[in-house]
Symmetry: C2
Subunit: 522 residues, 2 copies
C-alpha cells in the first residue's frame, strides 16, 4: 500500500490534504512549491527496521535527479519526504533493500507556492540571507532551548507568544535539557527506553519525532525558522555521550525526516566544545553527514562556548557565535566571507548567572551593535519571578529554555529594529542587492549602509551608542538624502525636514543610545 500526501506548515496543512491514503502510485497528485511531498509505504515491522531496512527515492524533474533518504515511522510505515523547489512535472522511483518498498514510482505536479511560502533561507550577498525565492530574510531570533519538552499547554503558550513577538528564528534543541532550572523530565523521549529508563539509541521514537515535526510545522506557519540544535552538552539521559555509530544513525534519521521542512536550519550543537565526549573531528564528520544527506541544502552552523569552531570550513554556511564582541565583527566578516549571527549575547533577565541577567537596555544595545556591525543577533530571556523562592533545582518557566511568556523590555525594541532593517529592502531605488546593512565606510561613529546592485549606497544608519553629541557633521556620499533621528528605546523615528547632501550638520538630542538614518532620495 502506498500513501501520497503533502504535509508541512500549518498554513499548508490547511489547504492541502495531509496523510490521505492514495490508492496507487500511478495516480497524479499536485503539491505546491516548497510544501512537503510525502511518499508513505507499508513494509516489514519485524527486527529493527530503523537500521535494517534501506529506502531511498529518486526524484526527477527534467534532466535533474536527486535522491532522498526514507525513514521508518513505526508500525510498518516507511516514508520518503521531498520539498519540490520547481514548478512542473516531477516523478520519483523508490529503491529499497526490501522488495515491497522497492521500485515504487509515480508522477506529481508542483504548482505555484502558497502565499507566504518563500522556500528555505539561503545565504545571499555574502553576509546576508534571503529565502529561496529571493525575498530578503533578516534573522531576528530568540532562544527556547527545550520548549518542545514542556507539555502541550506550555508549548501552545510559547507558540502564542512567538506569534506576537518580533522573532523569526528560534534556537531549539532536539534533545531535552538537564541543567540549572531545568530538572523536569521530557514528555516524550527521542529513543525507545526500557523499564529501567535505558535508551536504545538504535530505535528512534516515531511519536517523539512526530511531535517535533508538529512544532516545526507550527513555527513555519508563523514564519519562524527553526534553528535546530542537534547535539548539546546539558544531558542526563545519555544523548550527549552516544557511541559514534548511534550519533551518525540519529543524524541520518533526523535528516531523512526533517530536510523537507523548509524552515529548518541545522545547528550541529549548542556549545559543542563543552561536549567532552566529542572532538572537533566528530563535528567535522557530522557536517559531512549533513552535507551528504540533506538534499535540500539547509543552512549549517555550530555554536560554541569558549573555543570557536573553524567557521572558514567550506561546509559551514554562517557563523553562530557566543560573543558580544562586536568590534571584531568587520574583521571576521572579511576573513570568513559568510553571514555572522551573534546567537548568544547573554540573556535579558535577573538570574543569578552572569549569562542570564543583562538589562533590557543592554540587550537592545547589543542588537543595535550587531546590526550596525553588519551581523545579526539572537535574543534570549531569563526572568525569575522576584516573589518566588529561588532554587536552581526547580524548573520555573524561563523563556530561554521552557518558553511561555516574555517579560522583558527588549522584544518591543527588537521589533522596532527589525522593522528598520526590513526597510532597507524597500529603500528608494531598492534593488536585489538590498538585503541588509554592511559595516559602514564612514569614519568615527558606528555606522552601516545598504547599497543597491550597482554599489550605490541607498541608506546609512548611525548608532551613537553611549555617545551623546548635541550636534554632529555626517559625511554623506554623492547624492541627496533624507535624515531621520531615531530613538531605539523610545522607538521613535523623527524626520528632519529637507534633503541633505555632502557634510550634513544635524542638531541631535544630546541623549545617549540614539541613531540617525539617511535614505537616498536622489
Amino acid at each position: 500500500m502506498l500513501k501520497l500526501s503533502s504535509a508541512g506548515a500549518l498554513a499548508a496543512l490547511a489547504t492541502t490534504v495531509p496523510g490521505v491514503a492514495a490508492p496507487v502510485e500511478s495516480q497524479r497528485r499536485t503539491v505546491p512549491k516548497w510544501e512537503i511531498f510525502e511518499i508513505s509505504l507499508q513494509g516489514p515491522s519485524t527486527g529493527n527496521p530503523f537500521v535494517e531496512v534501506e529506502l531511498t527515492a529518486t526524484f526527477v524533474r527534467g534532466g535533474r535527479t536527486v535522491s532522498a533518504d526514507g525513514f521508518y515511522d513505526g508500525e510498518g510505515r516507511y516514508k520518503v519526504r521531498w520539498l519540490p523547489d520547481e514548478e512542473g512535472e516531477w516523478s520519483y522511483t523508490t529503491r529499497s533493500s526490501v522488495a515491497e518498498l522497492h521500485g515504487k514510482t509515480a508522477t506529481f505536479t508542483c504548482v505555484r507556492a502558497l502565499p507566504g511560502a518563500h522556500g528555505p533561507v539561503k545565504v545571499r550577498n555574502t553576509h546576508h540571507f534571503a529565502y529561496a525565492d529571493g525575498t530578503p530574510y533578516f534573522p531576528f531570533g530568540t532562544t527556547c532551548y527545550a520548549w518542545i519538552h514542556q507539555g502541550d499547554a506550555l508549548e501552545r503558550q510559547t507558540l502564542k507568544t512567538l506569534q506576537a513577538s518580533p522573532f523569526n528564528k528560534i534556537r531549539m534543541c532536539v534533545f531535552p535539557k538537564s541543567y540549572e532550572y531545568n530538572r523536569n523530565e521530557p514528555v516524550l523521549y527521542p529513543f525507545e527506553r526500557n523499564a529501567a529508563g535505558e535508551s536504545d539509541f538504535r530505535r528512534p521514537n516515531p511519536a517523539f519525532f512526530a511531535h517535533l515535526e508538529l512544532r516545526i510545522a507550527e513555527l513555519c506557519a508563523l514564519g519562524i525558522e527553526a534553528d535546530l540544535i542537534l547535539f548539546h552538552p546539558y544531558d542526563r539521559w545519555g544523548y550527549a555521550t552516544m557511541p559514534a555509530k548511534a550519533d551518525d544513525q540519529y543524524l541520518r534519521y533526523v535528516l531523512a525526516r526533517l530536510s523537507a521542512y523548509r524552515n529548518i536550519w541545522w545547528s550541529l550543537a549548542n556549545e559543542f566544545d563543552l561536549m567532552k565526549a566529542k572532538s572537533v573531528a566528530d563535528f567535522d564528520r557530522f557536517f559531512q553527514i549533513v552535507l551528504q544527506h540533506d538534499w535540500a541544502g539547509h543552512l549549517r552552523s555550530v555554536h560554541y562556548s569558549k573555543s570557536m569552531y573553524d567557521y572558514t570550513q567550506p561546509w559551514v554556511t554562517h557563523a553562530s557565535l557566543q560573543s558580544y564582541d562586536f568590534d571584531v565583527a568587520a574583521a571576521w566578516l572579511k576573513a570568513w566571507g559568510k553571514p555572522i549571527v551573534y546567537d548568544e549575547v547573554m540573556y535579558e533577565g535577573n538570574l543569578n548567572k552572569r549569562w542570564g541577567n543583562i538589562s533590557g537596555e543592554e540587550m537592545t544595545r547589543r542588537f543595535w551593535l550587531g546590526v550596525i556591525a553588519g551581523c545579526y543577533v539572537t535574543h534570549g530571556e531569563t526572568y525569575l519571578d522576584p516573589e518566588q523562592p529561588f532554587d536552581e533545582n526547580t524548573t520555573p518557566t524561563l523563556w530561554w529554555s521552557h518558553g511561555g511568556t516574555l517579560h522583558g523590555s527588549s522584544p518591543a525594541r527588537i521589533a522596532f529594529l527589525r522593522r528598520l532593517v526590513e526597510e532597507t529592502a524597500t529603500a528608494a531605488g531598492a534593488q536585489s542587492k538590498l538585503t541588509g546593512l554592511d559595516p559602514g565606510a564612514a569614519p568615527y561613529y558606528l555606522n552601516a549602509s545598504s547599497a543597491d546592485a550597482n554599489g550605490a549606497i541607498q541608506e546609512i544608519v548611525y548608532y551613537m551608542d553611549f555617545h551623546q553629541p548635541i550636534y554632529y557633521e555626517f559625511p554623506l556620499p554623492d547624492g541627496s538624502f533624507t535624515a531621520e533621528l531615531i530613538d531605539p528605546w523610545q522607538m521613535t523615528v523623527m524626520a528632519v525636514p529637507g534633503g541633505f547632501s555632502g557634510k550634513t550638520k544635524l542638531k541631535l538630542s544630546g541623549r545617549a543610545f540614539q541613531a540617525v538614518r539617511f535614505r537616498r532620495i536622489a
Copy 2:
C-alpha cells in the same frame, strides 16, 4: 644679596613668610617639612643668564648630600629651591660659574609638617599610591589641559570649582593649547617673544613660570596633585617642534623651578605619539633628564594617543593610559608591576567628537570598572551650551581644556566612589597594606578586594555592571563580614542586617549597575 624664603601651598603661604628678604646666609631659619625652602641670590643680568650661568646648591643633612639645580628668575635674580623631607638641621652650599653666586652657605631647621602636608605622592604596594608620610592617596583626577592660560577670572573660577569637586589630581599642560574649541592666545607665553611673535626658546619667561607656580601652589592648598604635562602636540607657537637642545633646556628649567613643589607629577606628554617631530628616543631622553635633575623623585609617566609608551621602562613610575579597555587591566598590572591610571577614558559631554560626548552614566561606569580592575581613572568634561551656535573655531568654556564650572552628572558619583575607596584605608583591622582595591580573586562578576599587611582580605567590592541579578551567592573568604548594597548612581549604601560568612546568598534589587560591599568584622 641673599634671600631665604619658604614658599609653597597657599596653606603654607598663610603660615610662613613668602619672599621675605633675609639679610645674611648664615642666619638660621626654619621651614616646615615638605614646604619649599628657597635660596634667592642676586647676580648678573647681562647676556643670557638662563643658559650662560651655572648654579647648583648642595643640601646636607647628617650623612646625606643632595644637589639641586638653581634657575634664573629674571632681573638678576637667581634661585635654588629645596623641599626638605626630614626634620632637623640642614645646611647648604652653592656652586656657580659666577663668583657672586658661588660658595654661599647657611644652615636651616626643618620643623614638623604643617597640617595637611603629607609630602609628595609615591608608589605604594606595587599598584597603589601614598604620600611620603604613608597616608594613602587614591587618585581621582580630572582634566583641564589649558586652564592656566585663560586669564585670572576664569582661572579663579576653576579653582573654586575644583575646591568643591571630588578631584585630587589635575591633568594640565605647561604650554598653551591650539585645537578645536581652543583658539585663544594665552595671557602669558612660556618664552620671550619678539614683535613678530617669534619665540626665543633660550629665554624662558619668568612671569609665565611665576604664574604657573602660583596655580600649582593653589592646587596644593586644595590638596590637588598637579599632573603636569610637559609637552603636547596641539600647538601653533612652535613649542611642539623646538630643537632638541631647546627641549632639554626647557625641561631642566622646569625641573629646577618646580621639583620643590610637593604636589607635582611629571607627565612627559599628552599623546606623545602624535608629536610628529619627536621620536620615542626623544621621550626616553626626556625621562633621563627628569631622573637626573628631579632630586625629589616625583612620579613620572607619559600619555599616548594610539601607540603606547613602553611602561615597563624602569624610569616610568606608573602607566598613564588613553583607554577604556578594563578587561586587560589585570594582565597589565601583572606585567608592568606598577600602578595604572586610566587618564583618558573619553570625556562626559555633548561635543561633536567621539572622545568628548559620553554620558554621565558611562563616565561613572568607567570609574567603577577601572577601580574594580585595581586601577584609577581620570575624569574630563566637554559640555557645549545647547543654546549657543557651535563652531569649532570658537573658544567656548569647556572644562576639559579651559576649566570654569562643571555641568555633568558624573562628578557627584565620582565623589561617592572616592569616599568608598578611601574607606578601604579605614576598614576594620586596617593595616598599612590597605591602600586601595586589587583585582578580586572571586570568580564570575567583577570584584576587587583590599587585604591587610598579612594578606587577609578585609573588604570585597562587587560591581555588577550591566548585570541585574535578583539574587546572587557571593563566595566569601574565611571569617565574618558585613554586607552592603550600593547604588553607584543613586549614591546610596544600604546595610544588609547581620554578619555573613562562606557562600552568602543575597537578594538584590534586580536593577543594573549596582554594587555590593563586604567588610570584615571578624
